[in-house]
Amino acid sequence: MSTLIQPARLSRKDAAVRQITRNLASRPGIVGSLLALQLAGMLFSISSSDDSSNAFGNLNIHIQNFNSDIIIVLTLAWAFLAPLYLTGRDSFESDMVFANDRLTRHFGNIGYLALIVLAGSLTAVLACLTVLLIPLLGSREVLLPEFGPWGLSGHALIMFTVLLSYALLAAGLGYLIGTLLGLSRLLVIGLFLLGLIFLGVLDDTGWHLLGRFAHFLFGNEQAALLLIKAAGASAILFAIAVISSNRQEAGA
């Protein structure tokens, strides 16, 4: 029996949610690289503990230092690089095969990034904690850093909040750069050079824009305040990316 096909209506929300699930299903490289980098980071953390010996009179102190910052650094690098892949021309063109407009694609991508950056920050902090099991289960005495009034849990929470803030910023920056690169590489180089000249001129006049901005963003005494500011700043970066590429053409 013949059935006439009627045009289907698709809400922006549904299209964006489908873009998120499609990213989860079709871009295993992003989550896979996070997994691989954090596992590598854990390996580095465990194997890179450096030994030092101190002699005090008739006292010898051997100290094995454990530091899991490499997990954080790799996670932040990933948060910057993953959006570059997500916004690449190949990704854009394969996204446009499916029911999408540029806005819903961006919303879906940003939602997806927010989700994996959240998960990545959480796993990074958990990985740092898990690495602690090596010294904690060892036979040596353990010297924990002073974790502040809320102990290790407070420390972990602050770590998570700060890492999430930085990762959101890195993701926003990566997304903007990736989107602009998708539009024109020359544009990115031009903007970069213009930005440098602009900042240089401002610096010469004694108005250190970057420094002021960094102080505004990072000069907080509370992690929650940093998160709010970082989320706002990354939202601006995402918005610039969305606006600048709303006319991007596929297969041009």
Binding site: Q6, R22, V97
Partner: protein, 305 residues
């Protein structure tokens, strides 16, 4: 009723005009052939219709508005070509899953059966398929998505004759099962041409002809016989191509005015035949008179280019 309209659409790429002043209206559930030589602007027109490209001038509209960056148009349009890039990590089965999620009318069961029939294993990756298999999969995906506007760019490229035949049947059955506006572009469409209700021919970025396929075909005749008899019979007619088939023998393709008939003089030994759609558009959009034979003849006679 679905309507796809190009209104003075123009597309330029870095100063080079790929499509100019294209005004074309396709309306209703039918299969339309968008024909043209390589570089004529077919793919650009298809991508404009799919909303992938933004017209430099004019307008391309469907579903009540401009198609560029329209979610409604995108949700009801599928464009597939040989160059379509599906996410390279997805298997064919995964692509079918995603298409089923994206397009509400997608017939997953049919897609799976067709994939089985054409021996396209669902675990394979799209990028690892041969050109013919990739186009087979794309055509299956494009047709089973059952979008009101289905755009198939060069869908039969690289396929062997048996697969072309089967897929032509699939196209027809799918159209009967779920009528929609299917635009098929290309220049190697043998087998498909009988399915076209309308043809639109683009040449050098401009619309040359848009009319019903049968009427278009009927306007072109091939007259063959002795050269002087053919010459006499075609005098005053619009000759599109003329070539020497054998020494002293000639074959000429003519285009008649719409609504006119051709009466060949009897007893002159002339043969008048109709052209296939493919040959008709080739004759219409062909290069120099005499075709490739003329090139060789000119070379032999050392005529300066």
């Amino acid at each position: 009723m679905i309507q796809l309209e190009f209104e003075k659409a123009e597309k330029r790429f870095q100063g080079k005009t790929a499509l100019r002043d294209l005004t074309l209206s396709l309306e209703g559930e039918k299969i339309v052939g968008l024909l043209g030589r390589n570089g004529a602007g077919k793919t650009t027109a298809m991508k404009l219709a799919a909303g992938f490209l933004k017209p430099t001038g004019g307008d391309v509209r469907a579903f009540g508005g401009p198609v560029f960056n329209s979610l409604l148009a995108s949700a009801n349009t599928i464009y597939l070509s040989e160059d379509t890039r599906f996410p390279y990590t997805l298997t064919l089965g995964g692509i079918i899953d995603e298409l089923a999620r994206a397009y509400p009318n997608f017939d997953r069961g049919l897609a799976t059966r067709l994939m089985d029939y054409f021996t396209l294993p669902s675990f394979m990756k799209h990028a690892s398929l041969s050109k013919g298999m990739r186009n087979t999969f794309n055509l299956i995906a494009g047709l089973t998505a059952r979008c009101p506007l289905t755009l198939l760019d060069e869908p039969l490229n690289g396929m062997d004759a048996a697969v072309r035949k089967d897929l032509t049947s699939v196209l027809l059955k799918e159209f009967i099962e779920a009528p929609r506006l299917i635009v098929v572009s290309g220049h190697q469409l043998q087998g498909l041409e009988d399915l076209f209700e309308e043809v639109a021919i683009i040449d050098k970025g401009r619309l040359l002809i848009h009319e019903e396929a049968d009427a278009f075909k009927e306007r072109f005749k091939r007259i063959s016989g002795k050269a002087d008899a053919v010459g006499a019979a075609t005098e005053g007619l619009r000759v599109l191509s003329r070539r020497q088939s054998l020494p002293g023998m000639e074959e000429t393709v003519i285009e008649m005015e719409p609504g006119t008939a051709l009466f060949a003089p009897s007893g002159a030994g002339l043969t008048v035949s109709s052209l296939s759609l493919n040959d008709a558009y080739i004759a219409l959009t062909g290069g120099m008179e005499g075709g490739i034979d003329r090139v060789y003849a000119d070379t032999a006679r050392k005529v300066k280019p």
